[in-house]
Symmetry: C2
Subunit: 712 residues, 2 copies
């Protein structure tokens, strides 16, 4: 159905002219109709015969109401008849209503009787729209009544929502089953509901001044959906326009910043313990091969590098300037950076918005805008980009190159990321501190990492999104190619309060973050350790080609816990086909368990693990393996680890490339075995049945979101 924008524009202009912040009921109904949102059909009849004709056109049953400017309390006046079921009743009701009205007020002008479609039955739902400070227009869907009010069973999507988004909302609530029909009730018409969701989302996207909209209740039946009531709130304030270069410009800027050929260190120092000294050391000792220009007002040379008084004195071009000077000197130095046409500044200093110095930060940002400089920070540790051996931080250089890019809003969490990564020997392409995010934000990073061939997964800690909509748009595109994992802090209201006191961040409604992340294909981590585990494991695991997961376990007890974990992580345990079951049985003792988990039992030699895992990798119906190892004298941990690495490598060479994870139950030697397996492409964990399955589940969530394997 085409949307009648001009009709809506006219109604909104009227309301604006009248200085109103809400539409009247007829106006609201009018814009709903202009966007194809079904509302109760109605009309006014002047005679009994006309009433019956109108009612027939609308469809019985109808509600009939007196229309008279003098009669406000229609029910009191006997001017309402509900449940009118046929022509005879309609004619009778017309007469009754008019009689009653005359009796009630003999002098009332009677304009006629309103005939309105009577809605009832079906399922009451709510469709609405809100304007979120971070994400802008969002469309919402929930069931009516207590399910929304008490259980907060509601789901959001960015507006405009695609057809697929709208349909996904119907399954996005806990009580989704109700829409499919329970207790003998017929299912509602999903297509009509999805259309209505789509229309609402398009309406608020087309008209930003519609700040809130409620269709409540909507009666959803097997035949369609009708909004019984429409409420529209308005806000004519122009939306805040955020600075946002085009994606091409961001790519160009970020490539110069992240992969610079020349770096200036403003505030470089020869003095041990100074941040400007740490940065110089990390650049030089980290092995960075580009030009390094220390900037200092008086020194001649620092660590063998010629010193300049200003970036403007440097003869060649500079890609990025790293700041290690006190906050109060930053703005002036940034002007010189601008005059030198350096495209990026890494603002390590603190003392800006996070300490209440909002004006100082705004000043710096305005200098940056004037000279077209992108700012990282302030109040950060800096960043690593390992393919260039670049350590532009005051932390120590990072040793393990790899494909995982990480970022953090908080410096403390950044340190935890560095520590974990180093401890786990996680291969990293970049670690970036975003701090106050005065300019460069997660979406800039995503845009850079998307096209960075050295990065295959992006893992981010964040407390807020200054421009959630930009993030979601970019994430939706990037996550189709590379997994994006996010730990969103400030989930709870207490956490959100702490986030406020930390960076002045306005933590949004967590449910909105949750839904938008899902809509954007972002994998949400529920804890810091999970973020780190996901960041480490996801790039190690090959992408599965389908949903069939099989557990092969030596420990029956692990099999039970691994099964629990599979269910919790949305990993369907494949129903074992009889021939495959028979094939597995050939390798295991007669009392081993059939089906899935394949329980090879505890006392088995290495060959049993070898044979069953090889079969699991070979058979095309199986898409992923979860291994449960039980430490025994017959198959010691390192024997198991070496053998599994060998089998997986052998099968990968033959083209059988599948994700395999392992849970190791045993004495302390299993820690070494887990490490070995991990280094050989099998994420493995000692003393845990849940983490291996959680990381496999994360890979699956990504692959499903990216459309690489079918949804469940």
């Amino acid at each position: 159905m085409a949307h009648d924008k001009s009709a809506v524009r006219k109604i909104l202009d009227q309301a604006k002219a009248a200085g109103r912040s809400a539409l009247t009921a007829p106006e609201a109904k009018g814009i709903a109709e202009a966007y194809g949102i079904a509302v109760p059909k109605e009309g006014v009849a002047s005679t009994a015969a006309e009433a019956a004709k109108l009612a027939a056109r609308i469809g019985y049953p109808v509600v009939m109401k007196i229309v008279s400017p003098q009669i406000l309390h229609k029910t009191e006046a006997g001017g309402v008849v509900v449940g009118v079921k046929n022509a005879e009743a309609a004619q009778q009701a017309f007469a009754t209503i008019v009689d009653n009205a005359r009796r009630y007020n003999a002098r009332a002008t009677i304009d006629g009787v309103q005939i309105q479609q009577m809605l009832s039955g079906g399922q009451e739902v709510i469709i609405g729209a809100v304007t979120d400070p971070a994400f802008g227009k969002l469309v919402a869907f929930g069931l009516g009544g207590i399910l929304v009010e008490v259980l907060k069973d509601i789901t959001f999507r960015l507006a405009p929502a695609t057809r697929a988004d709208a349909l996904s909302m119907l399954d996005g609530i806990a009580a989704a089953e109700i829409l499919r029909g329970i207790r003998g009730a017929p299912p509602v018409d999903r297509e009509s509901l999805a259309t209505m969701i789509g229309n609402v989302s398009q309406l608020v996207a087309d008209f930003p001044e519609v700040s809130e909209l409620d269709l409540n209740p909507v009666f959803a039946t097997p035949e369609g959906a009708t909004a019984a009531d429409v409420r529209v709130m308005l806000d004519f304030k122009p939306p805040v326009v955020r600075y946002r270069p085009s994606q091409e410009v961001i790519v160009r800027q970020m490539n110069r910043i992240m992969k610079p050929d020349a770096v200036a260190v403003i505030g470089a120092s020869a003095e041990n313990g100074k941040i400007g000294n740490s940065i110089m050391k990390n650049l030089i000792n980290g092995g960075y091969q580009g030009a390094i220009y220390p900037i200092h007002p008086s020194a001649d040379s620092i660590m063998g590098k010629k010193v300049y008084k200003s970036v403007k004195d440097v003869p060649g071009g500079i890609d990025v300037a790293v700041f290690a000077i006190p906050a109060k000197f930053v703005a002036q130095a940034l002007i010189e950076v601008g005059e030198k046409k350096i495209p990026g500044a890494v603002l390590i200093p603190s003392g800006f918005a996070e300490t209440g110095n909002v004006a100082g930060q705004e000043e710096v940002v305005s200098v940056a805008r004037k000279y077209d400089i992108r700012l990282m920070g302030p109040n950060i540790y800096g960043f690593y980009y390992t393919p260039k051996n670049l350590c532009a931080t005051f932390c120590t250089a990072y040793d393990f190159k790899g494909v995982t890019a990480l970022s953090s809003q908080s410096g403390g969490i950044g340190m935890a990321i560095i520590g974990f990564s180093r401890s786990a020997k996680m291969g990293v392409s970049a670690i970036v501190g975003l701090g106050n995010k005065s300019d460069i934000d997660e979406d800039d990073l995503l845009t850079f990492f998307e096209q960075d061939d050295n990065t295959q997964i992006i893992a981010m800690h964040l407390e807020d999104l200054k421009d959630g909509r930009a993030f979601a748009e970019v994430a939706r595109r990037v996550s189709k190619k590379k997994p994006v994992v996010v730990l969103k802090a400030g989930r709870t209201s207490a956490g959100a309060r702490a986030a406020n006191s930390h960076t002045g961040a306005l933590a949004g409604n967590d449910k909105i973050y949750d839904d938008v992340f899902r809509q954007s294909g972002v994998i949400r981590a529920s804890s810091l350790r999970e973020l780190l585990d996901f960041a480490r494991a996801i790039p190690v695991l090959p992408t599965p080609k389908g949903n069939n997961v099989v557990i092969i376990t030596g420990a029956g007890g692990s099999g039970v816990l691994l099964s629990d974990a599979c269910v919790e992580n949305g990993l369907p345990l494949m129903a074992m086909p009889p021939d495959l079951d028979a094939a597995f049985r050939k390798f295991i003792p007669p009392f081993g368990a059939a089906g899935n988990p394949v329980d090879i039992t505890g006392g088995e030699p290495p060959t049993t693990y070898q044979n069953t895992v090889r079969l699991g990798l070979e058979d095309a119906r199986i898409h992923a393996l979860v291994l449960g190892y039980w430490h025994t004298i017959i198959t010691p941990p390192m024997v198991f680890a070496r053998l599994m690495a060998q089998v997986v490598e052998e099968m990968r060479a033959k083209g059988f490339v599948k994700p395999v994870v392992a849970s190791l139950a045993g004495d302390v030697e299993v820690e070494e075995a887990a490490e070995f397996l991990y280094q050989h492409g099998i994420p493995a964990y000692a003393y845990s049945t849940e983490i291996p399955v959680a990381v496999l589940g994360a890979k699956y969530r990504w692959a499903r979101g990216a459309g690489l394997i079918p949804p469940l």
Copy 2:
């Protein structure tokens, strides 16, 4: 209200005599009334005047229905009038009903008109009872309609339920808020609902043949609660009687088994690699000081110990016999154990029920019953009891004595427990394998550990409970004194299927386990790693004296995540009183954040941590501290760790004993610092904000359940 047991007995006896497995509606109503469960008031009137009189006594509105053996379809016959509101209407309805009935069937005998209280309004709820194979009689409560059916929003308690149990059920559902009145609706009468729950639970407890009972719906109003419909299912099969010695006998038996003065090893061996050899080595090399009697048909001496052909040849008494012989020889050897009057047998061999040899296991159990021997296993690794340096297992001896007792149903999980414990240097009193649980079960262990002064916390992995009721009864008592932590595997249906294939366990409805654990004060762990983390941390943490938790953090970002974790773990962040806030502010930079978290900011020297933590420990209003450390050059990890250990020790010496946990964000050195802190009474975790809070949360759950601190 007194319960009329004889009335119930009479009704049940009638049904039994008639061979029925359900009660008729009047019978069901009869037993409900006998137990004080309000049902709609009703009576039969023979005249119009009588109808009005009866209706007045019942209270308007009423429903009126024809009573005639010939008229089954009352509505069709025009024999039902609902919503009768006054005497006039009642008389009129009587006439109408009788007229209609005569017209419908002129030959029908008309016995009168039934007058029944008409229930409506209020909130529809469900109260019921079921018989669970593990837990026996359970009472259930939920809201009516879709909340139970779609969202499974229902809660269970063991029957009979105490008043406190019953009241806790009203808050035990997700939609609890509805009962308190929402959208302007008045709250329901909680006392009436609790009374009804109590009566139902007492009824099924008193009459085990009532296998299922449904009050659905119950109309709960501000004035009371009335069950509109009562359904009762019967099962007259006598309940399975489980072998269960008295608590005193269990204590005596278990003390001899767990703390033996003399151990026989049946199947002891001198041959390396044999289980009977490993056990001998572990007993001797583990440092066990009691008598060790190797039993073997032909050897003279094993590891310097004289060998006997049978336990019956041993001159002295024996407390426990450890079996290391094949399954098929166990029954015969067990007879000799019985004849020797040894009270306990540890059955390490597999090859019993878990491989399908159910008969073999039953044979062994019947021998044990005949001779009054308690059996551990079969199909286990054995057990450790470190205070006696006793390692009656084929695994390696355990080094770190402490107060944590652990058990596992699965051997593989047992190995993971041993590995984790050793790796984490967790102080352990006992590790016990329960395997097939042919006899000794979790409740026997709980009964032993309750009175074992060497044990302060019990952590158990289990897949099923053979006698859930016995477990719950014992756990409820023990958990008041010592924390009981349980990892219940087979939570999901897939997990439960795996549990079936593993030990033939019938995994119960997980929601029932969840509710009964809570009712029994058991702390449920959600994963293997969580079980182990809880087992390690809970005994290290002192019991808090109140609910006020304060976060002190150097990393603002950690503060946000720690706040999230506190909310998720039911730890209320104390609202900071102004004087305390001011006191904290004296120690932190002006831009540090006020309130809770106390954000001391990242660049602070050790003294800032010291001063703030000391204040947190000193002030009586604060009951627990969560520390967020941020690795900096100014306060390196080990400096922080030593200082915190010192402050906590100093304050404990002064009588300020409070739980303190720490989250360490930093480079790899934080791992050593975390270890140091842990060894000094502060559970600390590198790269995690969630685990420290989760373990503190577990301690709180226990303390609240045990009544040591007020509920929230």
